[in-house]
Symmetry: C2
Subunit: 196 residues, 2 copies
Amino acid sequence: MTHLLPLADDPAPERADAARNREAILAAALELVRTRGVDCVTMDTVATEAGVGKGTLFRRFESREGLMAAVLNESEAGWQAQVISGPPPLGPGAPPMDRLLAFGHSRMRTNVTHGALIKAATGESSARSRAAASFAVMHVRHLLNELGVTGDLVLLSIAIMAPLDIMVIEQQQRDNISLERIEAGWDDLVRRVVGA
Amino acid sequence: MTHLLPLADDPAPERADAARNREAILAAALELVRTRGVDCVTMDTVATEAGVGKGTLFRRFESREGLMAAVLNESEAGWQAQVISGPPPLGPGAPPMDRLLAFGHSRMRTNVTHGALIKAATGESSARSRAAASFAVMHVRHLLNELGVTGDLVLLSIAIMAPLDIMVIEQQQRDNISLERIEAGWDDLVRRVVGA
DNA sequence: GGTCGAAACGGACCGCGGTCCGCTTCTATT
DNA sequence: AATAGAAGCGGACCGCGGTCCGTTTCGACC
């Protein structure tokens, strides 16, 4: 006899064809983004290329943003792994301050590299609570805590991360400010906030 | 004889009908935003209501964002006037630190009040170099300078302003954090950055 | 007042993101 | 194997932002 109340099994085990489609869509999207560039990838194209109907795209990924976020995760996951369990100073093992600085520099470079995709995945925003940004804020909060900083750590983390935002960086670059100079300014900001 | 090289007259004095239309569009947009709420105002509606063609809207305001920014300016201008020449502590006359704190609090409340419109005018982003945000950054930079802060003042200003962003605030409110608590956290951030 | 080039106009048109709903496919159950 | 109904599917359809281009209006100069 199976139990009559589902209790806490997975609420929805995902049907086989659904899984197949999800994979096909993601693969098609990844390929299209790589070959044509994010801005030229439409939902219709992805659907056609994946061999599914457009409705299926939206069923599984909610919106274009959602799909792009999923694509972005593909690469972002690797970076997050580096942060969580990679070699120091980015990964664990180094003193918190070193990690924090390394984290910011790494995040900045990553933002510059994946700018277009990140924008597509966050709706041009950024200081938003999307998965990626959220991970960064959580990590910074964690490091601030290790550094003995007290106060509203989330708010402080948001402030710290703001200058690394792609839109901000791109604006600075338009003003002919080098990444190195931004990095230096950011380091200064971090030291002020940490109080070291 | 008129000069053959236009030198530096106004490059384009704006034709009479154009001015009339601009005004009609802005008035219609303002009215529609007030009555229906930003999200329900389409470009077609504004065009119809203003009695002009859709093309004219885009000619004068570039995009929906541009039009909304123009509408927003209507109210934002008043606030900016308060900051530039209103009574202290928001306006000039008070010590820089008082002004800075007052500025942040005022900005935060304004963001909360005009949230929807601001989002419409900045394309859901915010840490962007739109006119409004830019004014804020410039002002903060100015106050930081008066406070004797040295370093990359623009970058520090961006960091300071980040937690006041509408998207961020709305997220915090979703997490049941009160505006007062945000204010307190923000004051702390400012003191850290200023080094007081 | 007439003429002429430039500037502005307007609305048909396009592409894209997103929804809707009748049809198909899967899987649990007997 | 048959069945039933839930989950998934797909593509016609919609609304909106944005563009394009033939037509109209303006105003500077004669």
